[in-house]
Amino acid sequence: MTGPAIEIENLSKEYPLGFLHLKKRTSLEGLNMQVETGEVFGFIGPNGAGKSTTIKLLMRLIFPTAGSARILGKPISDVEMHREIGYLPEQPYFYDYLTAAEVLDYFARFHDLTAADRKDRVQRMLKKVGLETARKIQLRKYSKGMLQRVGLAQAILHDPKVVILDEPMSGLDPVGRREVRDIILELKKEGKTVMFSTHILSDAEMLCDRVGVIVGGKLRGVGAPGTLVDMKTQGMEILFELAGTSNVPLLSKAERTGDRYRLQVAEEELYAAIEQLRSAGARIHSVSQVKATLEEFFMNLVEADRAQASAVEVSGK
């Protein structure tokens, strides 16, 4: 049985404020979390929630005020552990005097690969992220999206067991986003553990086995996207077309978009509503369940956090 790939215990980060450092800003508060081996874990939250702080703490780019973390069973202070980890920083920036092939070769040299192996891997990675034709162009001429692809390539170049990506979809066009999604799914197929932070909830819903929602430096929920939100059906939605005006009482409750109407009714009222629409000559296109989405769950948490923050501010005054 394999243990968790990433274990985070009571991890906190405070930043001193002011010239004398008398005040402190808490960026992350007592984070406890695990990412299981082989899963795709999404770390979602609004800007400034603590997602990048957590990832930087895991990468030892910053140091925790309290708490600890382990990756693949080793403490994060163990530098050799980085042989098994791939990391994509948020808005990555690389040596702009190097070409994509040179920058990948440079990073590969830290992994004790032979020259032939390095060359082979660099070529494969450039192909994988769609930069094969731009391999000899200096990075100073790259677009933001192209740099993101270089970042992704350097993160997976050494075939790591755990891949940590900070906002991997940021700056990418729809095609690029699709390609990154495919790469993440491919990594999952290969049995890698992937943890990524994102603002884009649809990506998290689509890709993740589990998500962690972080707001205001605190973890507010962890679980499969479906179990985090209330799975109970909130009602039924009927999509229909109705020629001309009709005397259907339900019509006043429906929303009209072009020729089509969208009507939401309680589950127990569904058949009565369909009957009523049929007798009025409506053409029913679809009937679907209405469930809370991850986005609604997320927005509720963010709004609750903002309300709490303003309450603290008012009481502080």
């Binding site: 930087k56 990468m59 030892r60 780019l61 910053i62 140091f63 530098v79 050799e80 552990m81 980085h82 042989r83 980890i85 791939g86 990391y87 994509l88 920083p89 808005q91 990555p92 920036y93 690389f94 040596y95 005097y97 190097l98 440079y106 990073f107 040299r109 830290f110 992994h111 970042g151 350097q154 993160a155």
Partner: protein, 258 residues
């Protein structure tokens, strides 16, 4: 150590691609102008003028590179966040610091060697031959390179805990103070209080002594530089750089990146 070497070679490549070695063109033009002018304005002391001017130019150009690029070695990587992806690799922070130092010292070695070659060519042009005594010029160039390595270590250390501007000011300040360490040691301690005398003595040994690296007068007059001084300066630079770089690595290892 191998990983520090990888960082060093990349730092050297950065310097080359950022056209740091273009200063050699300026040096070449200066030396050509000097070679032409010296024959007309200084009868009999052409060699002295050429050697003094050449060594001064090597020193000043090297100092500018050491201070400004030395300070930017770490701070630029932090500002541009190029460090993030690198430190996520199996690289210790001290290996990064050592690699950056090694890369710039290597750049300075190539740069200083190229300027030294230029100086020798101009000497050959002016004197029509080189003599055994001229090897003092090479020793003087070696001492300049040692001095520059020490300046790079100091600039790098300051940049690990303060802003680039302050790091430049501290490095320049320490360099100027370091030129007068001997004067500090020669202060009349008998008129001072014992505590002040002890402090002055302690300070004069703590501060980097840049005065010992200046053998320009010996080189200009073809006087041999004592072997003991060559050994002493080499050991002094190695030990002082090791101490300063250890301090830099210790500070940088605890530093939170942005």
């Amino acid at each position: 150590m191998r990983r520090a070497g990888v960082v060093a070679l990349n730092t050297f490549r950065e310097a080359v691609r950022d056209r740091v070695l273009y200063n050699l063109v300026f040096f070449a033009l200066l030396m050509m102008a000097a070679a032409v002018a010296v024959g007309q304005i200084s009868i009999g002391i052409e060699e002295t003028v050429i050697v003094s001017l050449g060594l001064s130019a090597i020193s000043v150009i090297g100092l500018l590179i050491s201070i400004f690029i030395g300070v930017a070695l770490v701070s630029k990587e932090m500002d541009k966040r190029t460090l993030y992806a690198l430190l996520a690799k199996p690289v210790r922070r001290w290996e990064f610091v050592l690699g950056k130092f090694g890369g710039l010292v290597l750049t300075l070695a190539v740069n200083t060697a190229a300027m030294a070659l230029g100086l020798l060519l101009v000497m050959l042009y002016v004197k029509h031959s080189l003599e055994r005594g001229d090897t003092a010029v090479l020793v003087a160039v070696y001492f300049i390179w040692l001095k520059l390595a020490l300046v790079v270590a100091l600039a790098l250390m300051f940049s690990c805990f303060t802003t680039p501007l302050l790091a430049i000011l501290f490095t320049v300040g320490l360099y100027i103070v370091g030129l007068y360490v001997q004067e500090l040691r020669n202060l009349p301690v008998e008129v001072m209080s014992p505590a002040m005398a002890a402090f002055t003595k302690w300070l004069s040994y703590l501060l980097p002594n840049f005065e010992n690296f200046n053998v320009m007068a010996m080189a200009a007059h073809q006087r041999a530089v004592p072997r003991a001084l060559i050994l002493q300066n080499t050991l002094y630079t190695v030990i002082y750089c090791a101490i300063v770089l250890t301090a830099a690595a210790a500070v940088f290892s605890k530093r939170n990146l942005k």
